[in-house]
């Protein structure tokens, strides 16, 4: 009897003649509808941005070629270094937070206990609200005097934390709002992946005497590795590009404590009209994202193979 679990191959007798296939020229037309706008609006701006990184341009007039001057200035700029360090801190807080909470919520909802549908809705709801609204709401919630978070912390005997007004906590406050917003997507991905885990493996593990934690660690988690890898990669990229929350909640302050790279690029390009310099910083961020993504993928691929 054929197995239901693994891939099965059926050989289909090919009656195709052994001649060179003809060219379907209509294919060009089909592809052009997608390719032309894609090249115009996605690829061309990237190359234009690369060109601008080597120029000085303030929108008015023609760009002036300055070579690597923008990159030299960016690498020597303390504010750029601060923005990069902050962005890496955002990633260090948000990525594990979203991944762990998303997994926890998905495992809970996957049990299909009573009111699981309500819980599922509550966990996913923040994800449908725009980042701007999230920022506004969390500015209220994290208010030092009247915010809900500090009220409940006080009720539990905790200290009054100046979430968005101190250099020590501003980045954490923005990260909290980001985690609350982002968990919904990770939760849905994990929930879908959990439904892929074969039940018979859990039953076999239970017969072998494995408890719930051991089943989760040795059966569920290995099956979730691809989903975890995907969530970590997507979240890493999203965290490194964080902007809206920073813009709405702190505008990069106080004293640049919550400044992200994209917010800095916005300030340089739109507020100071230094488009060449902003493009150079963007290129540096692109290199960082590319490097981290490749590194993360190599590490996870090795673990998957292992």
């Amino acid at each position: 009897m054929a197995s239901l679990a693994g891939p099965v191959a059926i050989r289909i007798a090919s009656d195709a003649p052994a001649t060179r296939p003809r060219i379907d020229r209509s294919g060009y037309l089909f592809v052009a509808f997608f390719t032309v706008p894609f090249l115009l609006f996605n690829i061309a701006p990237i190359f234009f941005g690369i060109y601008l990184a080597f120029t000085e341009w303030g929108i008015v007039g023609d760009p002036v070629w300055v070579g690597l001057a923008n990159f030299k200035e960016a690498l020597a700029d303390d504010w750029v270094a601060n923005a990069f360090v902050n962005t890496l801190r955002y990633a260090a807080i948000i990525v594990p937070g979203v991944t762990c909470l998303g997994l926890l919520f998905a495992v809970f909802v996957h049990q299909r206990w009573p009111l699981a549908t309500v819980a599922r809705t509550l966990f996913f709801t923040p994800n449908v609200v725009s980042a701007t609204v999230i920022g506004m709401v969390w500015v209220w919630l994290l208010d030092t005097q009247f915010g809900l978070v500090n009220r409940y912390l006080a009720a539990l005997g905790g200290p009054e934390i100046p979430w968005l007004t101190s250099t020590q906590w501003a980045l954490v406050g923005v990260s909290l709002a980001s985690i609350w917003w982002d968990v919904g997507l990770a939760f849905v991905i994990f929930l879908a992946a959990l439904q892929e885990v074969p039940k018979d493996l859990h039953e076999a593990a239970a017969i072998d005497g494995a408890g719930r934690l051991r089943q989760f660690w040795h059966v569920t988690l290995p099956h979730l590795r691809p989903a975890i890898s995907m969530v970590v990669t997507l979240q890493l990229i999203a965290s490194l590009r964080i902007f809206s929350q920073v813009y709405v909640m702190t505008n990069g302050g106080p004293s640049g404590a919550s400044e992200s790279v994209i917010h800095y690029v916005y300030q340089a390009a739109i507020v100071q009209y230094r488009l060449g310099y902003a493009s150079a910083v963007s290129m540096l961020l692109f290199a960082l994202i590319l490097g981290l993504t490749i590194l993360q993928r190599l590490v996870l691929r090795e673990r998957l193979r292992g």
């Binding site: 294919g27 809970f108 609204v133 209220w140 892929e196 995907m230």
Partner: protein
């Protein structure tokens, strides 16, 4: 050992603390959203109060009335138009390009299919790709790979297109991305031949064959 369950539910008594904890977490997670809705019905002088007020002391619709002092409907209509047009064009143009690369034979498709099949994103042997087509002749008849789990993944909508080379393993919703179930070229060719000869039942028969393929692959037929 039989677990004692709470009557009328699938919840075991020993799971009750976990359920309570999880539901508390869910309520806490939804609290900012509830706060946002509740605040929208509060007068502005009751938004920031010394005590926590989840429900407004007096309900006012003034905030909503104020919203409509601005051209909100125009903004909303702009968003709707933008979302509708973007979605429609993305689906239409994406489907057209995908169809051409997967099914038609022309040099650009050769490039794309080569990359795809070498990375095992697409079917193992692509007839739209000349080099694959050549190697497929030496490799013998094409194999059709099917896996019942693949259908479940497709229903979940987790198969992402193979255009993001940096996406991790399993971005398609499964650890084994080789398990794709393409529509065999042979069946499409027969449907096209049927259309040329005026055999209108060809499409239905091909569809029926496609429906049976996963069953055949699983050994049910």
């Amino acid at each position: 050992m039989v677990e004692r369950r709470i009557p009328g539910t699938n919840l075991a008594w020993r799971d009750l603390p976990f359920w309570l904890g999880g539901m508390a977490l869910a309520l806490a997670w939804g609290a900012p959203f509830v706060w946002m809705v509740s605040t929208s019905f509060k007068p502005s002088n009751q938004v920031m109060t010394k005590d926590i007020e989840w429900l407004p002391r007096e309900i006012t619709f003034a905030n909503y009335a104020k919203v409509f002092e601005y051209p909100v409907l125009t903004w909303a209509m702009n968003s709707v138009i933008q979302a509708t047009v973007t979605t429609a064009l993305c689906v239409l143009f994406g489907a057209m390009a995908g169809y051409a690369i997967a099914r038609l034979r022309f040099p650009v498709a050769t490039c794309c299919s080569c990359c795809s099949c070498r990375r095992s994103w697409s079917r193992p042997r692509s007839r739209s790709c000349r080099c694959c087509w050549r190697s497929s002749r030496s490799a013998g008849p094409r194999a059709y790979r099917a896996d019942p789990a693949d259908d479940r993944q497709r229903v979940l909508g987790l198969h992402l297109p193979p255009v993001l080379p940096l996406l991790p393993e399993g971005a398609g919703g499964s650890g084994d991305r080789r398990r794709r179930r393409p529509v065999p070229d042979l069946l499409q060719d027969r449907a096209a031949a049927g259309a040329r000869t005026g055999d209108r039942g060809g499409g239905d028969r091909v569809h029926a064959e496609l429906e049976q393929l996963p069953l055949a692959a699983a050994g049910h037929l």
